[in-house]
């Protein structure tokens, strides 16, 4: 049987040769638009064949595809059948519901190996002749050879006496190492929580610890934003007063408590059965969440308080979970390359890649890791919040009405908004497309300067702007020279990081076999646009893989499997950290990386 894989949503499965790509997609829960219900008359189900052989291009398809699209291997999913294993890229415009959350990522591919053992017990009720303490009674019933060496979590013990009596002396115990961390009713479903705390967004997953299945997930904003958009301002705030540090931690914890409770309610899971959690974030977020001092992170030599992984009782952080639940935080690599980067490496299987593989996790801060045939190095680039729509005049988050993609042809500009709503602003992927289209249509030169064009006008303050959408009676949606500069700084930082890694490894960028693009934003960018403005190196489209929130995937892997969790210690120590600010000829290299053209 052939295997079909859909990008960037990360679904894969078997597909028979007589099934259209559209039907395979439906079977695998990939929501491709099917206005005509798959009879080849609406032309909305365009997909790009990344690798593999498919049925020959039909005459009907040619009606709907441009020459350029045909050249780039675009097809209509309803009229195409696989002839072998095939990898299909679904462009955002072909998805019914824009996958705009930060929780999407690769499916887990490991057998569960939880951090605890679950044991069902039936106790003998005590009598006046046999006045067994509940604890002794449970240990006897556990029937484990090392029962006498087991210890009890205090909170688990506190809950036990009434529970045993109301449950008729039956219970289910969760034992972690030698510690009994929870004793609950015999019907309890042990679950775990995986969390990726980004500077701007948070992804929370509720996972069944027996099956390893993700039961529910949720994306939310990081509430710390009220104390600063980037980590540097939050480090400053937290190190200025203990109250701030307290507040920054409490905001996260409240947010996670609310989200977990809501995910539990949604799935019918008892919060008292959530026995484990894996939490990742960049080093500053990691420290703020643990309420570790961050002052030293903000000053040279920028050292973390903690590099190694740590297990902490959930209650020590204020997290409401099972009685004696633990929270595991993956290791950090350096002051600006944190546990989320380690999770990304784990989630993308980057450490196991054989050739030259680059993984780029684009966010407010962008971390990049190069695995050059086993030698791994990482950099951190302050790409800033431009991709989140911040500091862009008409920028906005990826929410309904945001322009997410656009094409310029002569004077004609077509825009696509999230949810098909009337345009209200532009999000990161739209901004990237806009710059690329401006460059490709000579509305902008390679220095990033906006050139004369029918859609370009000069504002009263002398600033040039490119009009995306005219909205009579409302302010037009535009992109100004200043917006282009913000994007340019962000993309230059990323490209400089990629180049520094290649140089450090002694290879040319063209030797990179695969570029993994991780992160919610990265999932939705048009790679061609990113290449057109020199953000990514001009490699063949097939070498790029957009994997969604890989840090979230890594967190889930580490949650579900102790084996996966153990791998991260090695990863963290194996990755060499390159301080971007310390590379030779930084200024010249940054200027070179700033060119707004394919480089």
């Amino acid at each position: 049987m052939n295997i079909i894989e859909f990008e960037p949503v990360g679904r894969r499965g078997e597909c028979p040769e007589d099934e259209s790509l559209l039907d395979s997609a439906r079977r695998l829960d990939v929501d491709i638009v099917r206005l005509c219900n798959g009879v080849g008359v609406c032309g909305r189900c365009k997909v790009q064949i990344v690798t593999g052989d498919v049925s020959p291009l039909s005459a009907k398809e040619k009606e709907f595809l441009t020459e350029k699209e045909i050249g780039r291997n675009y097809r209509l999913a309803c009229l195409t059948r696989p002839l072998g294993n095939v990898k299909v890229h679904v462009p955002p415009e072909s998805l019914t519901a824009p996958q705009r959350t930060q929780v999407e990522g690769l499916k887990l591919d490991v057998a569960p190996e939880p951090s605890f053992q679950s044991l069902d017990v039936e106790l003998t009720p005590p009598t006046i002749e046999e006045q067994s303490a509940d604890e002794t009674n449970l240990l006897c019933a556990l029937n484990r050879v090392d029962a006498c060496a087991l210890s009890f979590d205090l909170e688990a013990l506190r809950r036990m006496p009434p529970l045993l009596r109301s449950e008729n002396w039956r219970a289910r115990a969760a034992i972690r190492g030698r510690e009994i961390i929870a004793v609950e009713s015999a019907s309890t479903r042990w679950c775990g929580m995986a969390v990726d705390i980004g500077t701007t967004k948070i992804a929370v997953y509720l996972v069944d610890m027996e099956s390893g299945k993700t039961l529910a997930s949720r994306g939310l904003m990081n509430p710390q934003i009220s104390h600063g958009e980037d980590v540097v301002s939050r480090i400053y705030a937290a190190s200025r007063s203990a109250e701030n540090a307290e507040k920054l931690q409490a905001l996260l914890v409240e947010s996670l408590n609310e989200t977990l409770a809501s995910l539990c309610a949604e799935t019918g899971v008892d919060l008292r059965g959530v026995v484990d959690a894996v939490i990742v974030g960049n080093t500053a977020i990691h420290h703020l969440f643990l309420k570790l001092p961050v002052g030293q992170l903000g000053l040279a030599p920028y050292v973390p308080a903690l590099r190694a992984a740590i297990d902490v009782k959930a209650r020590d952080l204020g997290l409401e979970m099972a009685a004696g639940a633990y929270v595991h935080l993956l290791p950090n690599i350096a002051g600006y390359v944190g546990a989320d980067h380690v999770a990304m490496i784990l989630g993308t299987r980057l450490a196991e890649a054989s050739g030259v593989t680059l993984a780029v996790d684009i966010g407010t801060n962008t971390e990049i890791c190069l695995n050059n045939r086993g030698e791994m190095a990482s950099v951190s680039c302050a790409s800033g919040p431009a991709f989140e729509g911040a500091h862009i005049r008409h920028g906005m988050r990826a929410a309904p009405g945001a322009i997410e993609h656009l094409r310029l042809s002569g004077d004609r500009l077509t825009v696509q908004t999230i949810g098909g709503e009337p345009p209200v602003g532009i999000c990161g992927s739209g901004l990237l497309d806009a710059a690329a289209q401006m460059r490709l249509n000579d509305v902008m030169d390679s220095s990033g300067k906006i050139l004369p064009h029918s859609r370009v006008r000069v504002r009263e303050d002398g600033m040039k702007e490119f009009v995306l959408v005219e909205r009579p009676g409302k302010e037009d949606i535009t992109i100004s020279q200043k917006d282009i500069r913000a994007l340019q700084l962000a993309k230059a930082a990323i490209r400089l990081g990629i180049r520094a890694l290649a140089e450090g490894a002694g290879i040319a960028e063209s030797e990179i076999d695969e570029v993994i693009i991780a992160g919610a934003f990265g999932t939705f960018i048009d790679v061609e646009s990113a290449i057109a403005i020199g953000m990514l190196p001009p490699l063949q489209r097939e070498r790029f893989r957009q994997v969604g929130n890989a840090a979230g995937t890594g967190a889930r892997l580490a949650l579900v499997s102790l084996g996966e969790r153990r791998k991260t210690a090695d990863m963290a120590s194996r990755v060499r950290y390159i301080e971007l600010a310390a590379i030779s000829e930084f200024n010249q290299k940054f200027a070179d990386a700033s060119a707004m053209t394919e480089i």
Copy 2:
């Protein structure tokens, strides 16, 4: 060199033959009255020779001693010298400051073997080239082979970064097993806290963990008294509402936090250096302190939630100590024989006694343990708070002005008060003396009935009372028939317990080689009086040993030495618990034990 031992204060040491007992006492910090400064003219330094040979009785001594005192081996300490090893009993009236706290006990006799290792480290400051995380840096500096297997307590880690920087990268770490529980300045003195929480009183000791020396101690009232004088009423209160349980725990914790902070201030010890604690109490107090459910303790079959020893993070209980400090609670034996009993067994070395040894720990609840040539059994007797002065019309705690001892000769009654203050009431030991003197002078018959006597009068309500002190203008201090009955119930419970243990072991009470009397109250009772009213069996005076707060001593032993701590698990499982309420012919035996005469 000869060894001299002073009872009940529990001091022992070498003594030269040419040194008077009084001088030895002074050298060993036993405060015997010395009005004439030891020249044999005041006659206040009366002591009783319990065992051993001393210099012959001098003519001068005969002037101050009655025939009876001479018969009971009383001597003047200033005029007596040892001729070999000698054990000396110092009656309360010969002590300068009445030892009225519950903290006095035997001196510790073990080599310190703390639960943690102390290591001094000097770190290499990080640089931009070597951006070591503080945690990694400390682990490297620790120079332990298993350094990479060490984990950090979160709070210890939180304190570390600013500390390392202010202390110029030098520090002292406390490592417990594989966990770094505290990192403090290099001058930190690691200390520990031992606590004996009684139903009525609490004893707190601050101990230097390196030397094992007790630096300071304090006796205080158990603030839970506001929620009930006995444990049964507190169990009821706590099981009625979570708020009550919360409050009962908080009262103890606040009290301990205040006391520890004050002991630290007094001794110049940094609270952040108090890394360990051992806490003992009866099972109900133990559960209330841990906020474990107590409902099942109050209902048949009266089972504890927890029998085994437990280690809990101090912060989980709200105790303010070193960053990652632990609190160790010794094991319980049964629902009404708790960790304080185990501590008493440890503190008296009862488990190691060779013959037949009885240990009686008198308190609001009295626990008794018999070690019959290696076979150990315990009972719990609800002796009630009469010995604390409660429910006695003129009863009071052992505070200044309390009548602590008295003698009746014909109509003449002489009383001794604590601190020599004018009498204001009567405390437990005074009550015991009063009953004994009334019995010996036929003011009371063996059933406990008050008989006619010049000091006996009938109150308006028909109740007979014995006048201790007439106080013109104030209410006279008296002992009523009702007071005698309360005492009778208390002493009967204790004697029944002793008899049940002897019967269970198949021995006669007369076969008991040694009776150890533990507890603050037990330290100050006149053993002769206790025998005279049938509370204790009529054994020779030499077989009794009053050791002060043995539970407190046991707690200190377990604090100072892991070896001692480990012994308690074996003790707790070795001791057979005898349920007094379940013995055969209980009513008859209780009535027999109630006789107010030597039995």
